[in-house]
Amino acid sequence: MMKRKINLEYVLPFGFLLLLFIIFSIINGKAFFRMHNIKTIIDTMIPLCIGGYGMLFVISQGSIDMSAGSNLAFSATLGAILASKLGSITILPLCILIGAAVGFVNGILVSRFKVSSIMATLAQLIVLRSLVVVLSKGNVIFVHPSILKLNRWGAKGIIFILATIVAIYLFQYTKLGFSSRSVGENEIVCNYVGLKTKWIKTIAYIIAGAFAGLAAVLSVSRIGGVDPNMGQAFELQVMLAVFVGGVPVNGGSKSSIVKIIIGALLFSILQSGLVLSNAKSETVELIQGLMLIIMVAAILKANKMSTVKTMNE
């Protein structure tokens, strides 16, 4: 019968995980395995996963959303301001809606006006961040203490699990997810089989925005307010998680939610390990930058090899 092939693109992230484990347990010893550190790892991982779920719809289409971090800050700021008038519990739907609205604008720019996604969302990154400063006048906005309850493990856990289920359902088992991956494979083909690719692209950005809004709520509940600097470089961390987890940079049918969870876990371990070893911020940036290039190249290479392998069979 057919031998089950070992697929390099799945092995890579796990190999990397093992490597990180060994390095950090040597450097940090027991501190790495303390309960506190494990909690920190999970705490870092949850927003990355949530941001990553949304981003996956965009990345699987071969596009990118650089505005996730600014969107997070923007929806948190506007959401907190509005929620202070409408009642604190409304912050959850408000942030998600505001995030989705920002995503809608991104989607229109990319799909309708054909601005390349990296340019459009980089510009949005700047626009939204400056709007945050305008809205908050540069100050921290405190929220009602009841919102802090969302930061308890129970509430956070439920939100995370629900978000994961929704994301898996939408991405793996619906027309939307299927066509998103197909747009990444070949957008022209999708047009030729009657898929509304402009709309699919727009929806992907709306979903990415909505998940960024959800991540905003979790951030607010964790720090108890809105800091105009919050979410800075969030999109980078999410991107790292997505690519390190093995999602191909050009998208396509090899994109999956599981890869995001693995990638987010990897990234969080790396982050906590670096913090424990008192790495300087420039060291963290250096490592992240190198990791981004190396992992993307490695996954690309692995994918290519597996295609060549099936061709020769």
């Binding site: 619906t174 027309k175 299927f178 991956r181 494979e185 083909v189 030729y192 089989v193 898929l195």
Partner: protein, 500 residues
């Protein structure tokens, strides 16, 4: 006995599992026109790409004037005085005509490292004059030219090196009558000077007319090289196909035969660019063939009918539900399927699996409650296509890139056949597939017709259009020039006369 100018010896080239060239050998004599012919996918273009330095060979040797010739890039070919006009390359649209002609060889116009444009333009004008070519302003941007003008620029580029061998791949189809005559004069002049020409064309009559010798390829292998005067059209065809063309390759009947019911009404449509005032009625069980030169607009009509190309006037109506086709999703929802011309760019996600490619065209049908699409169903349709349409593949999960052209085309067709569509638009359905698959596809088309399915067949291959259609529309200059009914008297010559 004339001496040999160019020699091809045991050339081999494979793409994945497809053997595009297998031990091909050939000799071109000085001062001769050598014809190269074979069906689509027989390996002609591959051989030419290897000679002109555009593709690497797996193995084999080339000799020019008795010396080994090793083309590593298209520039080597040009430096060795081998000029090529390739079938589907085109020009760099963003540069001027002159820049296109001398791209990569611009250094000769340098004065203190700055290109002297005046000298560049002058040189181009000189080449036009020398070969008596129609003048195309060398300053014009290539992107603004017509298909024929672009071909002339490519020809100018090939002639600009004073070629010892001129390779022409399917060039005549794009040229008007007058330009063809100029080209034939150029060929005569080159011959008189002891230069050689390697010519590839589908037009058998033309090939027999022009060539001194003809090499026939089939499925990547050389069948024979014969003197043109020893060949007739039918003996040549027999060599190409490998057997007598049997009665059942195409349709056996000689009359049009379909129901009166109109299933698709194309009413006076124009897209403001490629086609104008096109009206066609497609009846139940009818095969309508569209043919014309490459810029006549037939492929664009097919795109418009399926709703993927916007039209500026006129309308396309489906009898089913009296729906106007405004988008591809409407066309699909009301029983249409479309096989576009460029299989690997427009129809299939080449690096994705068979099952995903099939699923892509039927997502709405596979949806369960809450829009759930189960992986089981996806695997199912993949398996069915493989089984029902005899696709040769390991399983339904392998990427299409691992399949041969013919098997990819079976997947491409199968995804629509699986859905029992009432109307199929087939644009060049047998492009780049081997003879076996070709016959299989014709068979399927005949069966579909019997079942009452209507087919709009767009094709550059006249025998296919004549052999299968009930009605043939011939396009010229973006318009329907003439409509023919199926009959015994309908021949390629009659159609070509209208096309040109």
């Amino acid at each position: 006995m004339k001496d040999i100018l160019f020699k091809v010896q045991n050339m081999n080239k494979s793409f994945g599992i497809t053997r595009a060239n297998h031990n091909v050998s050939m000799e071109i004599k000085r001062g001769e026109v050598h014809g190269l012919i074979g069906e689509n996918g027989s390996g002609k273009s591959t051989l030419i790409s290897m000679i002109s330095g555009m593709a690497e060979r797996d193995s084999g040797e080339l000799f020019l004037n008795g010396k080994p010739y090793e083309p590593v890039s298209p520039l080597t070919a040009l430096e060795s005085h081998i000029g090529t006009v390739v079938q589907e390359l085109g020009l760099v649209d963003g540069l001027s005509v002159a820049a296109n002609i001398f791209l990569g060889r611009m250094d000769r116009f340098k004065k203190l490292n700055i290109i002297d444009n005046a000298a560049l333009y002058n040189e181009v004008e000189e080449i036009y004059k020398k070969w008596n070519l129609p003048r195309i302003n060398p300053r014009t941007l290539a992107g603004t030219l017509t298909v024929e003008q672009k071909k002339i620029v490519e020809l100018t580029r090939a002639l600009s090196i004073d070629p010892d061998i001129l390779i022409l791949d399917e060039i005549t189809a794009a040229l008007s009558y007058n330009t063809r005559k100029i080209l034939f004069d150029i060929i005569d002049e080159l011959k008189a000077k002891g230069k050689s020409i390697l010519i590839v064309t589908h037009d058998i009559e033309e090939l027999l007319d022009l060539s001194d010798e003809i090499t026939i390829l089939r499925d990547g292998e050389k069948v024979a090289t014969k003197r043109a005067d020893e060949l007739t059209e039918s003996s040549l065809k027999k060599l190409m196909v490998g057997r007598e063309i049997e009665g059942d390759y195409y349709r056996a009947d000689n009359e049009d035969d379909y129901k009166d019911e109109v299933v698709l009404k194309i009413n006076n449509i124009s897209d403001g660019e490629n086609f104008n005032e096109v009206s066609i009625d497609l009846h139940k069980g009818e095969i309508v063939g569209l043919c014309g030169l490459s810029d006549a607009g037939i492929h664009e009509v097919a795109e418009a009918v399926f709703g993927v190309r916007p039209i500026v006037s006129g309308e396309i109506t489906l009898a089913n539900g009296n729906r106007k086709i405004e988008s591809a999703s409407i066309a699909m929802a009301y029983g249409m399927g479309y096989v576009p011309k460029d299989r690997d760019k427009q129809a299939l996600m080449v690096s994705d699996s068979i099952e995903n490619n099939v699923t892509l065209s039927m997502l709405d049908d596979l949806k369960g409650p809450l829009g759930f699409i189960s992986p089981g169903k996806i695997t199912d349709v993949g398996k069915r296509v493989i089984k029902d349409y005899k696709v040769i593949a390991v399983n339904e999960k392998v990427p299409l890139a691992s399949l041969s052209g013919g098997n990819r085309q079976k997947v491409n067709l199968g995804r629509w056949l699986l859905q029992n569509k009432d109307i199929l638009i087939l644009d060049s359905p047998t492009r780049g597939v081997d003879v076996g698959v070709k016959a299989y596809i014709y068979d399927i088309m005949k069966q579909l017709k019997k079942k009452g399915v209507s087919i709009l067949l767009v094709s550059d291959e006249l025998p296919e259009v004549i052999g299968l259609s009930d009605t043939v529309y011939v396009f010229k200059n973006s318009k329907i020039e003439k409509k023919f009914r199926r009959s015994e008297e309908l021949t390629e010559e009659k159609i070509i006369e209208v096309m040109l």
